[in-house]
Symmetry: C2
Subunit: 189 residues, 2 copies
DNA sequence: TTCGCAATAGTCGATTTCGACTGATAGATT
DNA sequence: AATCTATCAGTCGAAATCGACTATTGCGAA
């Protein structure tokens, strides 16, 4: 029975999902994954839901059964859960955190690749990133055109904006390394 | 004795640190933290180092002792460790991952705050973010002016760029909500 | 000078997270 | 009709992560 599990990033995701409508964990998983939610572990999700129930933010709504697959317990947001969701949302938006993305961590040691290796890797990233930006942009336009309220896709807009900024930055770094204005120290500081 | 720990983000950070010079875990901790590295758990760090030793990427170099504080074991990067570092760096730069930051997760459910709550929270974030951008920008300029090679601070430049893009995005969203061009659906999809 | 407090290092049991396993059903293939 | 595969749902022991605890030193205040 998890207790510390309440500061897992999944907590917000699950609460947010249940705000839309009650569901069972397995459905949450497919929803979260389809929304780009990277590899979420099933076991972890069940643990989180259990912790949420213990915290009183979520309550079992009843059970369903299709055929005789395992029984599915449907959970719904409680009032306390709704309050908690709003509280977390508000505080996470208000206070910018320094987030440590993988790329940031890798860039910190770019020197280890040497100028050629760095240009090479960055160029490939730029290519892939720009493909993705185009694909995501198109997809976003389609979705909005199909009548989905824009509010429901702004996180995708945000992500797209960040990706565009990253692409621009990569471009400028590659140019500078090529032009020799960003030099790679040979050995030691 | 950890075995799966080798895909922890700390691995790259530790390997990168040891590329600069051998040290003991406690020092790594202070270094990582001072470089903005958010709350890193001490116990976890020791576990990771142990796993790195088991993997042969890092080797104890000897022990030091100041006063009679606990003995400090100094670790250094092995050749295999250096290779592994380069491999990881290269692959993490080449392949852009969809990273799930807290803010992204929160923005996804912005609707739950209602138009006023959203504007309020976003405005405060924008203010804090812009303060930080200014402070970080100044700091960066100072550091570079003091002769530190730019390559050693590009991750800070990158982070600054992302922060600026975020700030611009927040500004546009706030404007649109105020202007009424981004509407908040009242109930349900 | 003595007390308290912050910093120094590290250990280890408790908690959380993971992912392999189970076992059933619907649809496709031969 | 028999078999194969993908999807559905969830459980549980093993592995990773955490954070409370220990013990020493050095500094500033009382």
């Amino acid at each position: 029975m998890p207790r510390r599990a309440l500061d897992n990033p999944l907590v917000l995701a699950v609460l947010g999902l249940l705000l839309e409508h009650p569901t069972h964990p397995y459905q949450m998983l497919t929803d979260l994954r389809s929304r780009g939610g990277a590899a979420i572990n099933r076991g972890t999700l069940y643990d989180v839901v259990e912790a949420l129930v213990a915290a009183g933010w979520v309550a079992p709504q009843g059970t369903e059964r299709t055929g005789n697959r395992p029984e599915r317990t449907v959970y719904a947001l409680t009032d306390a859960g709704h309050d908690e969701l709003v509280r977390r949302l508000d505080s996470q938006i208000r206070t910018p955190q320094r987030e440590f993305t993988q790329f940031l961590g890798a860039v910190a040691h770019l020197g280890a690749l040497g100028p050629d290796g760095a240009v090479d890797a960055l160029t490939e990233r730029a290519r892939r990133l720009s493909d993705r930006i185009e694909a995501d942009g198109d997809h976003l336009a389609d979705v909005v055109a199909s009548g989905v309220p824009r509010l429901h896709v702004i996180e995708a807009e945000y992500a797209l904006g960040q990706a565009r900024a990253e692409l621009a930055w990569i471009g400028s770094i590659v140019d500078e390394v090529r032009a020799g204005s960003l030099t790679f120290p040979t050995r030691e500081d």
